[in-house]
């Protein structure tokens, strides 16, 4: 169930350049479960910034009633968020949307998780849950440059982890798609989250096998009421059929919606 709660910061740290990892504590955590869902955050009390900010859930810790997000401090909202310290509160609405279907990968099968930049974080909870149920996990994680890389160690503990950078300053030089081909990675189901061009490339090259993509879109309400975040569906003939990224997604099966 979607709840709104003033959650308490238990930890915030900068884990890569401009990349922050924030852990919040509160009852809302008991509603979380599906990897790939997100929360909608109000980062200040006043009217600037006015709107909430959508951020993916990256780790869920039910025992401690905590969850973690990883985000890049870029615009006004995320910069304000990055100034929160332990014991400050953050107004959280969530959990929102539909995440990655872990049921699509059976125990013993192999899942390939492909992340790009700030799309990497939700894959961590996904990987944890897949690994826990006996799915073998491979990760291909793309970043712009060495200083932007994060979570490599954590992912490595769960399965093979290939890091790519656009400029070759760390790991494999090039796009994640080339890395998948070059390393000749075998898999049964692919899950991905990252920039739209990356998702498009994946859909084009790997759309013939099970593939689930997490999309981003500018949001208003985050709960499905304002129609800010719609996309066309793949099979639409009239042009009026749609899905909402916030409530039908953010994760869709490849082909379900037009990227």
């Amino acid at each position: 169930m979607i709840k709104k709660e003033l959650m308490v910061v238990t930890k915030q740290e900068e884990i890569a350049k401009h990349i922050f990892q924030l852990t919040l504590k509160g009852d809302l955590v008991s509603e979380m479960g599906e990897p790939g869902q997100f929360v909608h955050l109000k980062v200040s009390e006043g009217t600037t910034p006015l709107l909430r900010r959508p951020i993916s859930i990256s780790k869920i810790n039910k025992e401690r009633n905590e969850f973690t997000m990883i985000y890049r401090a870029e615009g006004a909202g995320t910069q304000l968020l990055s100034k929160k310290q332990a014991e400050d509160v953050v107004d959280v609405l969530g959990p929102l949307g539909h995440g990655f279907p872990i049921g699509e990968a059976k125990a013993g099968q192999t899942a390939l998780l492909v992340g790009g930049g700030i799309g990497v974080p939700p894959l961590y909870e996904l990987s944890t849950q897949l690994a826990a149920k006996g799915v073998k996990v491979h990760h291909v994680l793309g970043f712009q440059t060495k200083s932007a890389v994060f979570l490599e160690e954590e992912f490595s503990k769960l399965g093979t982890t290939i890091i790519t950078t656009d400029d070759g300053s760390y790991g494999y030089k090039g796009f994640v798609t080339s890395a998948i081909a070059d390393y000749n990675l075998e898999y049964d189901v692919m899950y991905s989250c990252g920039p739209t061009p990356m998702l498009k490339a994946l859909e084009k090259q790997f759309g013939n096998k099970p593939l689930f993509l997490s999309l981003e879109e500018r949001m208003g309400c985050g709960i499905g009421a304002c129609f800010a975040c719609v996309c066309h569906t793949g099979d639409d003939i009239h042009g009026t059929s749609y899905k909402k990224v916030c409530s039908d997604g953010p994760v869709f099966k490849a082909g379900e919606v037009v990227l």
Binding site: L50, E217, I223, F227, V230
Partner: protein
């Protein structure tokens, strides 16, 4: 102390979500009991289904936001058959927002939707800035607005409220033309037309280029227009534009609104409507009122 009587509308309280900011209520019904609301202004319905504009459709601005949804909706038939029937489970009168590209569209939708048993009033959206044809033209020329009002009044089974655009030089002239054409009430204001440019690309952030500006930023314009119009017409006004708190509601009532709609604030805090409804009685008492009606038009009475 909160009940309000308006043409067609017998409201438990003067608070309702504004059109387009609450869908058809389904999402919010998961969060609280919609029967608490004074009314619900549902999303605009058009004759045919519409997808609306390409995304991005929203952009944030200082104390406000731009939207260019473009009247996305499943078409009046589906709205009547699916959304309005679903809404019947709640004890809340519906105000149906009606849009179109030409007079005939409005007439078609109005006739149809006004037959639904929980639709107690129509809100003619003659002021949507986000569609290429119709919409805003109806909202800026008094004669055209009057014609449309008359045509819709003829077919509507329920009272007709007309939603005014703030993008005009003389809002009183517009309001009077619409009153004379037989409107039962006014709702105001719709969004101001605005734009935001992306610093890196230099291009508009919103795919549709321009969008409608809503939120706290526009409240002073809304208050001024309601203040002016309420003194010059004798039909009631449902006020909106930047309401965020119970105090904002009271400011709108003072200005001359008889009831108040909450738009953008639903995105910031989805519980805002029931929260305001709950706070209103105490706040009214604190300010020395025994009934919400006593606030209406206090700024000029």
């Amino acid at each position: 102390m909160l009940d309000v009587q308006l043409p067609g509308l017998s409201l438990k309280n003067p608070i309702m979500p504004a059109s387009g900011c609450f869908g058809f209520g389904r999402e919010y019904s998961n969060l609280y009991d919609l029967s608490q609301l004074g009314s619900i202004m549902i999303k605009a319905s058009t004759q045919e289904p519409r997808f609306g504009n390409p995304t991005p459709r929203v952009a944030e601005t200082e104390a406000g936001m731009l939207n260019a949804i473009g009247l996305q909706n499943p078409g009046v038939d589906k709205v009547v058959a699916e959304e309005l029937v679903w809404l019947e489970q709640f004890d809340v009168p519906i105000i149906a927002n009606v849009a179109g590209s030409q007079v005939e569209d409005y007439v078609y939708v109005a006739e149809k939707i006004s037959q639904s048993k929980n639709v107690h009033a129509l809100e003619l959206n003659i002021s949507c800035p986000n569609v290429k044809t119709g919409g805003i033209a109806f909202g800026t020329v008094p004669e055209i607005a009057a014609q449309l009002t008359k045509a819709v009044k003829e077919v509507s089974a329920v009272p007709v409220y007309v939603k005014l655009s703030p993008n005009v030089a003389n809002i009183v002239e517009m309001a009077k033309a619409i009153e004379n054409a037989g409107a039962d009430g006014l709702t105001m204001i719709n969004t101001l037309i605005g734009m935001r440019l992306d610093l890196k690309t230099g291009k508009p952030v919103i795919a549709n280029k321009t969008g409608g500006l809503s939120g706290p930023a526009i409240k002073p314009v809304a208050i001024r227009m309601i203040y002016e119009v309420s003194q010059n017409v004798s039909i009631p006004i449902i006020g909106m534009g930047g309401v965020q708190s119970v105090d904002d509601v009271i400011e709108f009532l003072y200005a001359g609104a008889s009831a108040v709609a909450v738009g953008t604030a639903n995105f910031v805090n989805p519980f805002i409507c029931p929260e305001i409804i709950q706070q209103l009685p105490d706040r009214l008492r604190e300010l020395g009122f025994e009934h919400v009606n006593e606030c209406v038009g206090r700024s000029w009475k």
